[in-house]
């Protein structure tokens, strides 16, 4: 017994963590990523292998984020869910989660329970066992200790189809008969998907007759004129290396994206978008040193670069980019950092394999970009995913050259990392608008790379009215 106990403690000495970032919580996400790296805890890509589910940001006060509960259902025991609202809380919150995990192998602690929607019922049983630990601020809520007993976690939205169980397939062996009385499910499927898929509870709920009441695939023409099955797949908001808060509704045939639509989660943020902060502050008349703006731009591009490389499956430089990103945001002296950034940019730019694998994906000519309101790197590149990557690398090198520049940023310098900040709409709005057009016809993996190469920052979406409020 004692041995088993010791074994379990050793097993959970470094728990697997799935990090879900909500839009508007960029600083919290960065702090959590840095903290997890310091501790050397393994990161899980899906809830299936995670012990700790860490939500960066604040849960929706009116309970619109039930997709988080879908992910939570998918985490096998031992499991702890917690939310981190402020960057300073990261370490303490992780300590608390770790302690609870090591207490009991059968544990399921929810320290960030859903807020019950008005008139709805709460997702987790709340028996009010206080789950707060030392140093936690207000993240603990009521630690609902809920056992879901079975091992059946409902992960809907996976498009299994229900189907007629009459055992009569069509004679030519094509499963997936959509003619059995279900209309076109119109892309709005996915009820609390297990996290990779889309979150919103569906707007149009179908009466499903199939097992698990899930929507079915239907058939449609593919690009070669064959009538094949097609699948509605919501992507996001909790995929690894995915823009926080973005939901793509894809229509897939095999591996090919036929159609894509974008949705976003509501952004909850009290301050300027993190990546645009220095320029917005300068615009309001504050004195912001250029070095600070350069570091912020550098970090923003390194963040995008890390995401792009991780999606392209090149882990080594992706990890380096993230380490340098955290260095650029901390007070690390500039000289050493500059060398590292420049050498990383050179290494990525030199890779022929990366060029061969990403050239030709998501071409966006400069004229089209301008028409859609895209400015910044995507407009400068005026080409495919690889061109956009090269522009990032270019701007990285330039920004690294300004690490020692202590002159104040000009008031009319509005070139944020993702584009001009004085347009009618925030830069990421334009990026989101061009996305569906670039995705149709791409393969799944290519679509992921296109999204990463544009890397819209959803924190910006509420920035327009903020700037008006600031009198810019």
């Amino acid at each position: 017994m004692d041995l088993r106990d010791r074994l379990r403690r050793a097993a959970l000495s470094r728990p697997g963590v799935m990090l879900v970032a909500l839009p508007g919580a960029t600083p919290v996400r960065l702090e959590l990523e840095a903290e997890l790296r310091r501790r050397g805890w393994p990161r899980s890509e899906s809830p299936a292998a995670a012990d700790l589910l860490v939500v960066a940001g604040e849960r929706d006060p009116i309970g619109e984020d039930s997709w988080l509960d879908g992910i939570w259902e998918g985490v096998p025991k031992p499991a702890v869910r917690l939310a981190v609202r402020h960057p300073g809380d990261a370490a303490a919150a992780l300590d608390t989660g770790h302690r609870l995990l090591r207490e009991d192998a059968g544990t399921r602690h929810d320290l960030a329970p859903a807020v019950p929607p008005s008139g709805g019922e709460s997702a987790a049983g709340r028996n009010g066992r206080p789950g707060g630990g030392r140093g936690e601020r207000t993240d603990d809520g009521a630690g609902g200790h809920h056992d879901d007993g079975g091992d059946q976690d409902d992960r809907g939205g996976h498009n299994d189809h229900g189907g007629h169980s009459d055992g009569q397939g069509d004679p030519d062996g094509q499963g997936g008969g959509q003619e059995s009385g279900h209309g076109d499910s119109g892309g709005g499927d996915g009820d609390g998907d297990g996290g990779h898929g889309g979150g919103h509870s569906s707007h149009e709920t179908h009466e499903m007759s199939g097992p698990a009441g899930l929507p079915m695939a239907e058939r449609a023409e593919d690009r070669d004129g064959l009538t094949l099955d097609r699948l509605h797949l919501p992507l996001g908001p909790a995929l690894p290396d995915w823009p926080a808060g973005l939901i793509l509704r894809l229509v897939l045939q095999g591996d090919v994206v036929q159609r894509a639509g974008t949705e976003t989660l509501p952004v909850r943020r009290r301050k300027d978008p993190f990546w645009d902060e220095p320029w917005l502050r300068a615009a309001r008349g504050e004195t912001v040193p250029r070095a600070e703006a350069a570091r912020r731009r550098c970090a923003a591009h390194l963040d995008s670069l890390g995401r792009f490389l991780a999606v392209a499956g090149w882990d080594d430089p992706a990890a380096r980019a993230r380490r340098l990103r955290d260095g650029a945001l901390s007070a690390e002296p500039g000289d050493r950092l500059r060398e590292d950034v420049v050498s990383l940019a050179r290494r990525v730019a030199r890779s022929r394999a990366l060029r061969l694998l990403t050239a030709g994906l998501g071409p966006l000519p400069a004229a089209e970009a301008r028409a859609a309101g895209v400015s910044g790197p995507a407009h400068t590149a005026g080409g495919d995913a690889y061109d956009r990557l090269l522009v990032w690398l270019d701007e990285l090198g330039r920004a690294a050259g300004q690490f020692g520049d202590e002159r104040p940023l000009a008031r009319d310098d509005r070139t944020g990392p993702r584009g001009t900040l004085d347009g009618a709409a925030p830069p990421s709005r334009g990026l989101l608008d061009v996305l569906p057009g670039l995705l149709s016809g791409a393969e799944f993996a290519g679509a992921r790379i296109v999204v990463a190469s544009l890397d819209p920052d959803l924190d910006e979406l509420t920035a327009a009215d903020r700037r008006e409020a600031a009198g810019v």
Binding site: R38, H158, G313, L357, A445
Partner: protein, 314 residues
Amino acid sequence: MSETAPLWAAAVLPFALLALAAVTAGCGAAVSAAAERGPAGSARELTSRAAAPLREALRLLVQQPRTTTAADGALRRAGVALLPTAAVLAGAVLPLGFRSVTDPGVGIVWFNAMEVLAWAAVWLTGWGPNSALSLTGGYRFLAQGLAYELPHMLAITTAALGAESLRVGEVVARQEGLWFALWMPAAFAVYLLSAVAMAFWGPFGHPLGRDAAGGAAAELGGPARLVLLGGRWTLLVVAAGFAVPLFLGGGHGPLLPGWLWTLLKTAAVLAVLLAVRRALPAVRMERYTEFAWTVLVPLTLLQALAVAVVVLNR
């Protein structure tokens, strides 16, 4: 020349392969951690980093298994169990020095048949959980198999052609003076590529890619995940180890005993593969298949032709 090992070797084989796999995974983890957290400050830190796969294995062992809605559990379990089984069965014809667990007359074809079982394994693992992302991972491996298998078959056939035998022991014996890698460089290079592709690892790790949240392993937690990932590392060790008898002279070498040479050469091949993983992004099949069919297949055919001409003139 070659002989069959005693019966107990068959019982030891899976554990030996697992140990090798764990060591390889540890080295891989140390390399990744260096990128993630900077160079290790001390030997103790390095050891702790290299032990990460073992810690992860322990963690998955205490995690409770889970299923997904309306999954085909039987097929998923079959797929997960098939992967390490195929790796060990392929390892049965792998000679350590000059002795393997079994040395059938068609050892090379046997090896190929066993690694093809991995296709079925990964596909079933992806199909079973009833999740779109794991399905994506599953069919990615099918596409990968279609891309790498033909050049791979031609490469190992070339080695058999050079030895005029399908028996692995015979292939080793024929390399006493000159390694095949030296006069069949194209076949050797293609074999190394396909060894990585076979184990769907590193640059060819797309079937378990991060962009699909873990691909075929997206819905696997607990022991099932451990078996799949352990099976993958074992398959990598077996595939890399098989390059030694096929192209690198097996246990032949001066001074040291044969088994030690085999181990050293296997370690060298694995080190090269780890370096390749560091240097390359994930290879996507829609970009690789054309290269495989229009460049690698003709290349390996020409290589086989050259070897055949040499063999005929002996």
